[in-house]
Amino acid sequence: MALVRLSAVSKVFRSLQGRDYVAVRDFDLEIEAGEFFCLLGTSGCGKTTVLNLVAGFERATTGSVEIGGRAIEGPGADRGVVFQGDDSLYSWLTALANVEFGMRMRGIKRGDRQDRARRYLDLVGLAGQDNKHPSELSGGMKQRIQIARVLANEPEILLMDEPFAALDAQTRGVMQQELLKIWRATGKTVLFITHDIDEAIILATRLGVMHAGPASKLKGVIPVELGDHERDRTADRFIGVYRQVHAMIREELAIATRQTA
């Protein structure tokens, strides 16, 4: 059974002027436990809406959104979210206290939660940065705190909303490799949103391409069966997958460009 299932989901936003905007319509998606699913789409295609529905930040207008067979009613600790910007970090807390936050809310003893928080800071490569505040850390390090904070809370699935989009290209490359390492080490299920084809292919075990918005849905899903050494932009099989994905997204890109640019 799929861990996350969206079936016939639509989401309509109503503007202040009373106009309706249909973000997604008839959206179906199943994510199996343990997979790394990348949702790829052009800007404005509604991919963040999908993540927000799974996170419980938004309620579906119609259709059902489930995790482990239970309907999602709102945000919950079973679904950890890594945001694009660092404004989700608690700037008044140290890196360690940020990672402890979820455990603290659940009343886990100080000693235990600090031990666990340190383990996860180590895992994301932030050993020894315990007492730094977010403002003292680089963009990449801040995203590492976010990832550690979510992992330390031991959710069933990680929801990542373009977490590396605001980083420079070099840091982004490093973070992608680190995330793969963490994913292999923890075996967590991941739903990862991106508009970057390369990033999706590097990370995903399966990737879904969305139609351009509005009223978007999945255009297709393809498995990315690449070995570790092939998750590299120069590998032949990588380029093969890239062509396949690019062919799918090209028309959508043209539509999106006409709408927004």
Partner: protein, 259 residues
Amino acid sequence: MTVFGRLGERAKILLGYAIGFASMFVLWHVASVYLVSSVLFPPPTRVFVKGYELARDGVLGQQIAISMQRILIGFVCGSAIGVPVGLAIGSFAAVRRVLEPYTEFFRFIPATAMITVAVIWFGIGEGSKIFLIIYTTVFVVIVNTAAGVGAVAPNKIRAAQSLGANRAQIFLFVALPATVPYILTGMRAAMGNSFITIIAAELIAANAGLGKMIWDARLFMLVDQIFVALVVLGLLGFVTDRLFRWAIYAFAGRFSPIT
């Protein structure tokens, strides 16, 4: 590389202040001795001597204590009222809709306009002064606190929800600390208002305080004494504001882009 380059940050700040203040007194001296040269504009030396005499006799300290005590009591009470009200306005739309008319209405009636009413209601003593300081503090603190609650990044709230925090925890551990810099900024502005208000109130109707000291000095043309009071006001304001700046930095300034 300048001379400043080799000094620490703190030393640089202190040196800057020292130079700034020194130049202020030099300018004052030049202006009073060479440009104006009138008994109505005493040079800094005379003012310092006068200030020393007043301090030695205990008069100055007493007046400062009276004015600062009024400010402190009113300011603490005003903030104690303003912060929770501001938090409530910022957190609940219904509370905001009901209370906004109050803040938006009284914000434009300055405390100085309320002096006469305050004296009629509460007399010439402490009551009217403390009322006026509370009045001048409370709305600034409310408006800033409410704005701070409204400015908490939605992702901070969402992250907390996804980490398993309940509503009370989100308020206590996310919204409140995120609002602290705004609260302190509001209190800092309120402290500035308090200085204006207390002097105005003491000038018009009081039996003691720095404002009263200025007013009395005017009657006897004691210009030196007026200047002592002015310098003391400047210094008191400067020191309290530095304390606030320091508090903002210590609590939140280094984490938050508000100064």
